[in-house]
C-alpha cells in the first residue's frame, strides 16, 4: 500500500512535469512532427484492418436482432452510433496501447539502461522535453485523427455488409449515418480519444523513463506500459460514458 502511494506520487509528479514542460519549452517542433508521423505510420494499416473487420462483424451480428423487430432499416443508424461513440475510439486506443505503448516503453527503457538518457542529461540537453513531452503530445494529437480514420473505415465495412445482404445505395447509407450521429457524439469521442492518447503516452513514457535493471527491466517496462494503459483506457471509457450522458438529451 505504501509502495503504491509512493508510485502514485511519482506518477503525479511525472504528469505535472510533462504539463509544465509543454508550456515552458523548449518546444521540439521537428521531433514532435517526427513522432506524429511515426505514430500514424506505424498503426495505419493495423487500425484500418481491424476497424474494417469490426464494422463488418458488428453489422452482421446486429442484423438478426433488428430484423426480429422488423427494424432492419435502423441498422446504419445503430452501427454508426456504436462505431462513433464507442467502437472506433476503443479499437484505436487498444491497438495504440499495444503498438505505441510497448514501443515507447521499450525505446525509452533501453535508452535509460544503456545510459543514453544520462548522456543527454550530462551534455545539458534536457532529455525530458525532447523524449517525453514530444511523445506525449504526439500521442494526444494523433489518437483523435486515427479515431476518425478508424470510424470511417469501420463504417465502410459496415456499408459493404449492408450492401451484400440487400443492395442499397451508398448515398442512402451516408444520409442515415449523418442523421443519427450528432455533433456531441463526434466531439465527445474526439476528446475522449485525446485523453486515451495522453494516457498511453504518459504511461509508456513513465514506464520507459524510469526503467531500471538492465534488459529484463526493458521488457518489464514495455509490458507495464501496455497493461497499465489498457486498464486506463477502460477506466477512462467508463468515466467518460457517465460524463457524456450528463449532456445527452435523449
Amino acid at each position: 500500500m505504501k509502495k503504491f502511494l509512493i508510485q502514485l506520487a511519482a506518477i503525479s509528479r511525472f504528469v505535472g512535469d510533462t504539463i509544465r514542460y509543454v508550456f515552458k519549452g523548449p518546444f521540439e517542433f521537428r521531433e514532435l512532427t517526427r513522432q506524429c508521423y511515426l505514430i500514424g505510420y506505424r498503426s495505419f494499416f493495423l487500425i484500418g484492418f481491424t476497424s474494417f473487420i469490426a464494422g463488418i462483424v458488428f453489422t452482421r451480428q446486429s442484423r438478426p436482432s433488428l430484423a426480429s423487430f422488423g427494424a432492419e432499416s435502423w441498422l446504419p443508424s445503430l452501427v454508426s452510433q456504436a462505431v462513433v461513440r464507442s467502437l472506433g475510439p476503443l479499437i484505436t486506443a487498444l491497438i495504440c496501447a499495444g503498438k505505441l505503448g510497448s514501443n515507447i516503453g521499450a525505446e525509452l527503457g533501453s535508452m535509460r539502461v544503456s545510459e543514453q538518457i544520462d548522456a543527454m542529461e550530462v551534455s545539458g540537453t534536457r532529455p525530458f522535453s525532447y523524449l517525453v513531452v514530444t511523445r506525449v503530445i504526439a500521442a494526444t494529437m494523433m489518437l483523435p485523427i486515427l479515431v476518425m480514420y478508424a470510424d470511417t473505415i469501420a463504417l465502410l465495412g459496415s456499408y459493404m455488409m449492408v450492401n451484400m445482404i440487400n443492395k442499397s445505395s451508398f448515398q442512402l447509407f451516408v444520409n442515415e449515418v449523418a442523421v443519427s450521429v450528432t455533433y456531441l457524439d463526434i466531439f465527445s469521442s474526439l476528446v475522449k480519444s485525446a485523453i486515451f492518447g495522453f494516457a498511453i503516452g504518459i504511461v509508456g513514457c513513465y514506464a520507459g523513463y524510469n526503467t531500471s535493471g538492465g534488459t529484463t527491466g526493458v521488457g518489464r517496462a514495455a509490458n507495464t506500459a501496455v497493461v497499465v494503459s489498457m486498464v486506463f483506457i477502460f477506466v477512462i471509457d467508463l468515466v467518460s460514458l457517465q460524463f457524456i450522458n450528463l449532456f445527452r438529451t435523449t
Binding site: A119, V122, G124
Partner: protein
C-alpha cells in the same frame, strides 16, 4: 590534500594546494542506496591538468562517485566543488552551465542509437549552443572526429561500429563541447589489449590538445599505468591510498596488493 574543508556560502570558489589549482574538490561525500552505504566520507581532489586514476573493485561505487559529480546522482551528504560550482546545490541553469564544461565518457559509450554519428555529435551543439549553421557544425564535427581518428565513420549508425570505435565516438561527442574536465568511466572495459592501448593514447592526446584535467576510472592496470599521473584506490567506500603507479604497486595493504598481483 587539505585545501578546503570548510563549506562556504559562495558558489564560486577556487581552491589552491601548494600552488596547484584544484578543479574538483570533494569532501566527506556520502551516498547509500537503501541500507547499503556505498560511499562513506570520500575526500578527493583533482588538480588542474592532471590525469587522476581511480582504481577499485567493481561495485565499490566508482561510477556512483563520478555520477555525483555531474549531478546524475544526488549525494546524501558532503560537498562537491567543481570549477567553483557547488554541485549538489545548483539550480537547473547552473547545473547545465557546469555540465557543458565537464565531459563524461560512459562505460557503455551511451551513443544515441537512433542517430548517425554525425547526429550524435550535432545533438549537444544544436540543442545547447543553438548552433545551426551547416558549415560551422560540419567543421566542428570533423575536427572532433579527427581527434579520435574516425572522420570516415561520420554517416554510420552506432550499431555498425565496433566497441572501440563507439568509445571513441563517445569521447568525440564530449570533446565537441571543449570540456575543461573529462570523466572517463572504465574507458577500456571490454576491449582487447591493442584497442585498449589506443584508447589510453587517445586519453593522453586529449589532455595535450584540450588541456583537460581528467578522472579515469578503471580496473585495468595497463590503463592506469599509461594514463595516470596519480592513482587513488577506492575501497570500502573510501579513498584508501594515493600515489604514483609505482608507489601503489608497492603498497603493503592486502586489498591493494590483491589488486596489483592479479
Amino acid at each position: 590534500m587539505n585545501a578546503i574543508v570548510e563549506h562556504s556560502q559562495t558558489k564560486k570558489r577556487v581552491a589552491a594546494d601548494n600552488g596547484r589549482e584544484s578543479v574538483v574538490t570533494i569532501r566527506d561525500l556520502e551516498k547509500s542506496f537503501g541500507d547499503r552505504d556505498i560511499l562513506k566520507k570520500v575526500n578527493l581532489d583533482l588538480f588542474k591538468g592532471e590525469n587522476l586514476v581511480i582504481i577499485g573493485k567493481s561495485g565499490t561505487g566508482k561510477s556512483v562517485l563520478i555520477k555525483c559529480m555531474v549531478g546524475l546522482i544526488k549525494p546524501d551528504a558532503g560537498h562537491i566543488n567543481i570549477l567553483g560550482y557547488d554541485v549538489p546545490y545548483l539550480n537547473e541553469a547552473e547545473l547545465n552551465e557546469l555540465r557543458l564544461q565537464v565531459g563524461f565518457s560512459f562505460q557503455g559509450s551511451a551513443l544515441y542509437d537512433s542517430m548517425t554519428v554525425r547526429e550524435n555529435l550535432e545533438f549537444p551543439l544544436k540543442r545547447n549552443m543553438k548552433l545551426f549553421d551547416r558549415n560551422k557544425l560540419n567543421d566542428l564535427i570533423i575536427e572532433a572526429l579527427e581527434d579520435v581518428g574516425l572522420a570516415h565513420a561520420v554517416d554510420q549508425f552506432p550499431s555498425e561500429l565496433s566497441g572501440g570505435m563507439k568509445k571513441r565516438i563517445g569521447i568525440a561527442r564530449t570533446l565537441i563541447l571543449k570540456p575543461k574536465i573529462m570523466l572517463y568511466d572504465e574507458p577500456t572495459a571490454g576491449l582487447d589489449p591493442i584497442t585498449s592501448r589506443e584508447i589510453n593514447e587517445l586519453i593522453n592526446s586529449v589532455r595535450e590538445k584540450y588541456h583537460t584535467s581528467s578522472i579515469i576510472i578503471t580496473h585495468d592496470l595497463t590503463c592506469a599505468k599509461q594514463t595516470g599521473d596519480r592513482l587513488v584506490a577506492l575501497f570500502n567506500g573510501q579513498i584508501q591510498v594515493e600515489g604514483s603507479f609505482k608507489e601503489m604497486s608497492q603498497v603493503d595493504d592486502p586489498e591493494i596488493k590483491a589488486f596489483f598481483n592479479y
